[in-house]
Symmetry: C2
Subunit: 449 residues, 2 copies
């Protein structure tokens, strides 16, 4: 079975699990969020299971109310560096913000990660919604959505110049002549733009993958355009097959319009597998978790996301009719719309909506037996909604262990998932080409004239 017909799996690590209340289960360690050993264990389970990659989300601010759930997170680039030293094959994807970093620093950290890990680094590019983060960086509130994406576009341009500032063959290491590198194969970035001026070459040579795998996760209009231009993998929240298919077709079409091969943009919807040996057992596991959510905390968070006063959200009523539209929202636009549409489509009360969001924050929850979960995965994969999945276990590590022990063997039996790694780098796992060296390109031009 060829690489093209196989699906890709990413493990989204999120402390004790993606369910809001997972930390309250007996198995969970409330300190897991800052514990290297816990993350090493998850990465090793995923690597033993031959996942393509692990992934860490991020924002440079407290993650919600510290009373309610773990609100601390290890900074992802340093955590992934530690995981690079603790694993040998699995890809390592860290989220980092283009709004609250400088290109020279961030391009360098990712290039360093790619060297450290032998070509296993990926960057999930985010523009970071929210006023809390903005206020940690000298601003009064978040910049406009559009402005954040304009800065992100220029940030990527600068990063690409920095990653390519050393030709692949710049280092010669000629000890006899005393020449370490060829100076004319090291070129300054020389970037002068609206947001950034960056003069120098990067102080890290071109990395094993050329540059890290580029991942994107925003699904607004700006987000999809950005993904079509830059992303090699897209994480997305798609609650139904139909929406998943529409999104998949839309992003691939946009990539083609920009002259890219649609196979070089992998679409990975998030799934929250809740697995039981019987369907009833799976439902019971889901219900047990939902009972652990403290509704008054959850309502406060929902209200903040919907830009309304918490008192306007009655637990046993549906959402108010007069909510703002996506255009009025400067935060996580696509997440906002997804939540409102989910509530309206299924006529959910606020309490029911909280249960759905606590489980997967709008991602599709696949609750059922291993065969049912495998069937749904196969169906999405074979019907134009996914090149693979961003696996978000409700509880970690037990939900991951159940997925690996019970669902993966079925997918393998059906020839849908690898039995071993065939490549060394993260791009090789995803079947993506290594980006070419701009120097090779530049020297090819005069030769053909």
């Amino acid at each position: 079975m060829s690489e093209r017909q196989q699906l890709h799996l990413n493990l989204f690590i999120h402390d004790t699990g993606h369910h809001e209340a997972s930390w309250r289960l007996p198995e969970s360690d409330p300190r897991a969020d800052l514990d290297l050993g816990f993350h090493q264990r998850l990465a090793r389970i995923a690597e033993d299971a031959k996942f393509d990659s692990v992934f860490l989300a991020d924002s440079p601010a407290l993650w919600g109310d510290p009373a309610r759930r773990p609100s601390a997170r290890l900074e992802p680039t340093v955590l992934l560096a530690a995981l690079a030293a603790s694993t040998t094959r699995i890809g390592l994807i860290a989220t980092a913000s283009t709004s609250y970093n400088e290109p020279y620093n961030l391009a360098r950290r990712f290039a360093s990660l790619d060297h450290l890990s032998g070509g296993r680094a990926g960057w999930n590019i985010v523009t970071t919604a929210g006023d809390a983060a903005a206020r940690n960086f000298g601003l009064d509130g978040q910049p406009l959505h559009r402005t954040r994406y304009e800065r992100a576009a220029e940030f990527l341009e600068v990063s690409a110049k920095l990653w390519d500032s050393w030709a692949d063959d710049a280092l010669v290491g000629d000890k006899d002549a005393g020449v370490h590198a060829l100076p004319d194969r090291v070129r300054p970035a020389g970037h002068h733009g609206r947001f950034f001026r960056v003069e120098g070459a990067l102080n890290v040579r071109r990395s094993p993958q050329g540059h890290p795998l580029l991942v994107q996760a925003g699904s607004s209009e700006d987000g999809k355009e950005f993904a079509a231009r830059w992303a090699e993998a897209v994480f997305t929240a798609q609650p139904t097959l139909e929406e998943g298919q529409a999104f998949y077709a839309d992003v691939k079409r946009r990539a083609v319009a920009l002259g890219r091969d649609p196979e070089h943009v992998k679409i990975l919807p998030g799934i929250v597998p809740v697995i039981g040996d019987t369907e009833a057992e799976a439902r019971e596991l889901e219900a047990e978790l939902d009972r652990l959510i403290r509704p008054e905390y959850a309502r406060e968070q929902l209200a903040a996301l919907l830009k309304v006063e918490p008192e306007r959200l009655a637990f046993d009523a549906q959402l108010p009719d007069d909510l703002p539209t996506e255009d009025d929202v400067e935060g996580s636009k696509s997440r906002y719309t997804l939540i409102v549409e989910l509530a309206r489509r299924e006529n959910l009360t606020v309490r029911q909506l909280i249960g759905r969001l606590g489980g997967g924050r709008g991602h599709r929850t696949f609750t059922g037996t291993p065969v049912q979960v495998a069937d749904t995965i196969q169906h999405w994969f074979e019907h134009g909604a996914a090149d693979g999945f961003n696996v978000m276990p409700a509880v970690l590590p037990s939900g991951l262990e159940a997925f690996v022990a019970k669902v993966l063997p079925i997918l393998r039996e059906r020839g849908l998932f690898r039995t071993d790694y065939t490549g060394r780098t993260l791009r090789e796992h995803y079947g993506l080409p290594r980006p070419g060296d701009r120097y090779a390109l530049a020297s090819a031009v005069p030769a053909s004239v």
Copy 2:
């Protein structure tokens, strides 16, 4: 023998060695600078030898001329995270710039490193001299020396607020009540200053050491004042015993004047041990390395440091008389003065000066037999010039291996260096107290009123 009477050793890792031309030796891999395995090997040798810590220098710009010597470096915080996962006891000190980072991001990376490593993180605080770095961050040239230090002071204030934003006992993890942390034990930074506005609490809890060990390495007036205020360890280049003694007394005096215990500022001069079984053998090793320096490259770098045209430096003449004074220099002030004074004191020609700098960049070279090197270390340690040493082998790993195999046993026999670790954290290795929790302090006040 008590902790107080023993000396401290830090390994300064600098790719294939601190000698300019070390990469040209047969044993050296020209790609070692970006190779995790090479750094793991060095860290493990140092840990097996019970060094207090390893240390990485840094600047966010190319490190000199790529033709001449390795000019790339893995970003230190990510490299140390990988080394944290590869070692268990040794301290890990990374350099990072206060001029080209944001406090929220950097305070978070170091807090993350301290959690990851179980309390082994240290931060060498630098203000970053040089126009090349400035031009990678939107500036035309480096800010004034004084301005850089003012920014550094405020950067540290903000960082301290962020590191202390969670009380040590903030996390309760009460699963039954659904309370993860006590909200009144998590306090926003609320910093509004000249350089920074940082509103929020850090999204990393207080770390095993409270905050990373603070290290400083500038020896200008501003640098010494900064060290006296903040530093718990000071790296310094002191070419003679007398200068070392004067510096040691000066920094300790300044710390006392600020109300600090002088024992809580450890002074660690750099030493470049060049070891031979006979003195002649050591001298031959030193001479062999110096022959590998390409003088025309080295002269260019020296000229840039001294702010003169390269042609004004004749190889076989002494330095010109009309060099600028330290006050005119906005870069590495103390390094500038050290080099000029070294040349004048010893009447060195430009060629001789290049040899001396190529070997240790102004740090004291201890060339001789193991006993001679151990004698010098003991002499400095027992005569008020050092609490320990920043060991900078001319060639890595062989110079480190020689030091460990030949000099350390002598120091141990004399009771001057530990035979095993007695503590777990980096501060414990250096015999420094864990900084108190400001919450404990705050709540102690009402109790005593």
